[in-house]
């Protein structure tokens, strides 16, 4: 009997502990719910109380510790300068979109966040939630401080909804040893050269199976849409018209680019057929020496290779991507802004943090630590980018890149993976369906979503 009594005692004690925990939770959170109510009241908070804001940022770079250290340093320095405490949290890519969606539809929202799909988030948020207009910050920092791609993403309907920071463009990665072996002296500049160089680099066994592919698209989880955007730009086409009103890829350039996307494997046999395998990772294949060129890699690829395949150190290089004619756009660029959420209770502190985080010095530091490029002209003009052999290709490429995300609210649906019209189009083409029919179908659905 005594045992039972003791057991009951334990259960009771534990239940009470839970109650206490719940209570603690609500205590902390009650401030958040008041946040939601007084929408964007400017920062005249009680000066006795320490001001605190929350900041969400996605995970960047291949070393989680580096990002943690960077944020710790920056928030500590900011606090010592302004007395505002910044509570940061690093959001996993796996859940980033879900969390931002919830934040823009009335769920838990940070004060400041690193966002993407800006136009979609603004639309979702309506009047109460989502990124808030911060024209004053942009004006203060200088509206000409950023490249056009950065501005396109952050500047919507005549207002700034964020300050552009990270910038991302894609280049050609190649194995210099294999180039030497094959007697190739310079990186391919046109698609024809890409194919002929690819053919020289491809090796097959006696039965004709490819043992080393000349080329691989940079496709993760069998996702081809971004590669196709680069090819479409490289063929002189564009996804949408200049006003972002309707799709414009039902053209010869659209057909050419999709044909080329498929033909590297189908016709030219310079890529392996298993690109559709969701476990296929082109950079891993490159590290294993099974691929000689990867079309469309990101800046952090260098660190990845050096960490995971040190045997390849100094045996790879980056180059501006080939386009169909050898001139004009040949790649895509992405930019992402830092935004303040409408639900913040201390807009002033939030804006101060945005200004601090986005200043040239800090952005340079962030770019170096997280292997990112930057949307700011001042940051990119630093000699760090132009003198580094790996990064200079990115600098040159950024002049020859088209936007990878369209600044329209429906973009997140149009480019939704795997079932949005654009990813579906690429998948169908890779699967061997008729290109013109697939384009027609995709355009129809694209236009439906635009209504």
């Amino acid at each position: 009997m005594k045992k039972v009594v003791r057991l009951i005692g334990v259960i009771l004690a534990v239940t009470m502990m839970v109650a206490v925990f719940t209570a603690c939770g609500s205590g902390q959170q009650s401030s958040d719910s008041t946040q939601a109510q007084n929408t964007s009241s400017a920062g005249s908070t009680n000066s006795n109380e320490p001001r605190e804001i929350s900041f969400w940022i996605q995970k960047y770079g291949s070393d989680p510790a580096a990002q943690e250290t960077l944020l710790k340093e920056m928030t500590a320095d900011f606090e010592s300068k302004t007395g505002i405490k910044v509570k940061y949290s690093i959001v996993d890519w796996g859940q980033a979109l879900n969390k931002l969606t919830l934040a823009c539809t009335g769920g838990e929202a940070p004060d400041v966040a690193d966002i993407f799909f800006t136009a979609s988030l603004i639309q979702m948020g309506g009047d109460k939630y989502g990124p808030m207009e911060i024209d004053d910050v942009a004006k203060e920092m200088g509206e000409d401080s950023w490249f056009q791609a950065g501005k396109d993403e952050a500047y919507q309907n005549g207002h700034w909804y964020g300050i552009p920071w990270r910038f991302d463009t894609r280049v050609l990665l190649y194995n210099t040893e294999y180039f030497k072996e094959a007697g190739i002296t310079s990186a391919p500049k046109t698609w024809d050269e890409l194919v002929s160089v690819g053919k020289k680099l491809t090796k097959t066994d006696a039965k004709g199976n490819i043992t080393r592919a000349g080329l691989a698209w940079f496709n993760m989880m069998a996702r081809f849409d971004q590669t196709w955007f680069s090819l479409l730009g490289g063929a002189g086409g564009s996804l949408m018209d200049a006003e972002f009103k309707s799709p414009t890829f039902n053209t010869q350039a659209g057909i050419d680019s999709l044909t080329f996307l498929r033909d590297v494997n189908e016709k030219y046999k310079i890529a392996v057929p298993n690109m559709v395998d969701p476990s296929y990772d082109p950079v891993a294949e490159f590290m294993a020496g099974k691929v000689a060129m990867v079309f469309g890699v990101t800046a952090e690829t260098k660190n990845n290779i050096e960490q995971q395949a040190p045997q390849l150190k100094d045996k790879f290089a980056s180059a501006v991507m080939p386009s169909k004619s050898g001139e004009g756009a040949s790649s895509i660029a992405f930019s992402a802004p830092i935004a303040v959420f409408k639900t913040t209770k201390d807009a002033d502190a939030s804006k101060q943090w945005v200004k601090y985080f986005c200043n040239t010095e800090n952005q340079l530091k962030a770019s170096k630590t997280l292997s990112l490029l930057n949307s700011s002209k001042a940051v990119m003009s630093d000699s760090y980018f132009s003198q580094d052999a790996w990064l200079s290709a990115f600098v040159n490429q950024s002049d020859r890149a088209v936007a990878g995300d369209m600044p329209i609210a429906q973009w997140s649906q149009i480019d939704a993976w795997p079932n949005g019209p654009l990813p579906t189009l690429c998948t169908e083409v890779i699967a061997g369906k008729d290109i013109q029919q697939s384009i027609d179908k995709s355009i129809k659905e694209f236009e439906n979503l635009m209504k």
């Binding site: 979702m124 649906q413 949005g420």
Partner: protein, 302 residues
């Protein structure tokens, strides 16, 4: 004294209530809300959310891809369940024979169950990748194949729904669910009195006869509930397909739960996604109703 007697009358209710309230709050309300959403055109990017009746259902069922996904889901569920159960029952019967090392093996076989799905998916993706798979290396070393098998990327489809990636996804799923079934069978087996087998031995029954005449009939009622629940869980299984292949390649491994997720969380069409989940509910309700009906009747007689 009288008060406590009075109270005692309500004891069964008091015992029941906390759990029922919890279930209502966590399962029933959100689900009813989903059913409600399925009749509206709810899209996060559109401010107005009109009532469209069965519009979402018509759209979902008229999409030719839906039938394919339903077939995929059924294939995934049935094969995971059947082969998982076969493996589990063979292992459970062997473990029940009392050979040396059974505690050791039992401990090993439980390991997949406590492995978080994210880990399961990541390591299996590596094991099945064309270039880095030790399985491929082994098969090539013993000259069984001359080039690596592309486990998750082979897009040939047989009989309209069987593809290598789907089979691989099912194998991974079996790996992670068979321990649970094994434990259930093991527990059930231990309840079968050994006299039954002894008598059968005297009568000269073969092993197979013993299995079909004694083991299975005594086991089935014991594990019925768990098998039914396992079936439901597999039908609703999201983790494996989503984490290993994201439904790819070319949607060959896409199951209904993944479709619901992508419609809701990447396309922001909550109403449409809700309609899909109600369709799932209806499909899985059919076999369950039979069980529910019977279990009510059984309880009457008990």
């Amino acid at each position: 004294m009288k008060l406590s007697r009075q109270l005692d009358k309500y004891t069964p209710l008091i015992m029941l209530l906390p759990a029922l309230l919890g279930i209502a709050f966590v399962h029933i309300y959100p689900s009813l809300d989903s059913i409600r959403m399925s009749f509206f055109d709810i899209q996060l990017l559109k401010p107005d959310r009109p009532f469209i009746g069965l519009g979402n259902y018509v759209k979902a069922l008229s999409d030719p891809a839906t039938i394919k996904i339903i077939i995929n889901t059924l294939f995934f569920t049935v094969f995971s369940l059947i082969f998982g159960a076969i493996l589990a029952i063979i292992v459970a019967i062997e473990l029940n024979k009392g050979y040396r090392g059974k505690t050791f093996f039992r401990a090993i076989f439980l390991a997949p169950w406590v492995t978080p799905p994210l880990v399961t998916a990541t390591v299996w993706r590596l094991l099945l990748s064309e270039s880095f798979s030790p399985i491929n290396r082994f098969l090539m070393d013993i000259n069984l194949i001359d080039k690596p098998i592309n486990f998750l990327g082979q897009t040939e489809v047989y009989f309209g729904f069987i593809s290598l990636p789907m089979i691989m996804v099912i194998i991974i799923n079996i790996w992670s669910i068979f321990p649970f079934m094994m434990v259930m069978f093991l527990a059930g087996l231990q309840t079968i009195p050994s006299e039954l087998y002894e008598a059968a031995n005297v009568d000269g029954a073969s092993k197979w006869q013993q299995f079909t005449k004694i083991t299975l009939p005594s086991l089935l009622p014991v594990v019925e509930t768990s098998i039914l629940l396992e079936g439901i869980w597999q039908f609703n299984n999201f983790n494996i397909s989503y984490l290993v292949t994201k439904g790819g390649p070319l949607n060959l491994t896409e199951v209904l739960a993944v479709r619901v997720y992508s419609e809701a969380f990447t396309n922001f069409k909550y109403g449409y996604a809700a309609a899909f989940s109600v369709i799932m509910l209806v499909i899985v309700l059919i076999p369950s109703l039979y069980y529910i009906k019977r279990s009510i009747r059984a309880d009457y007689s008990a």
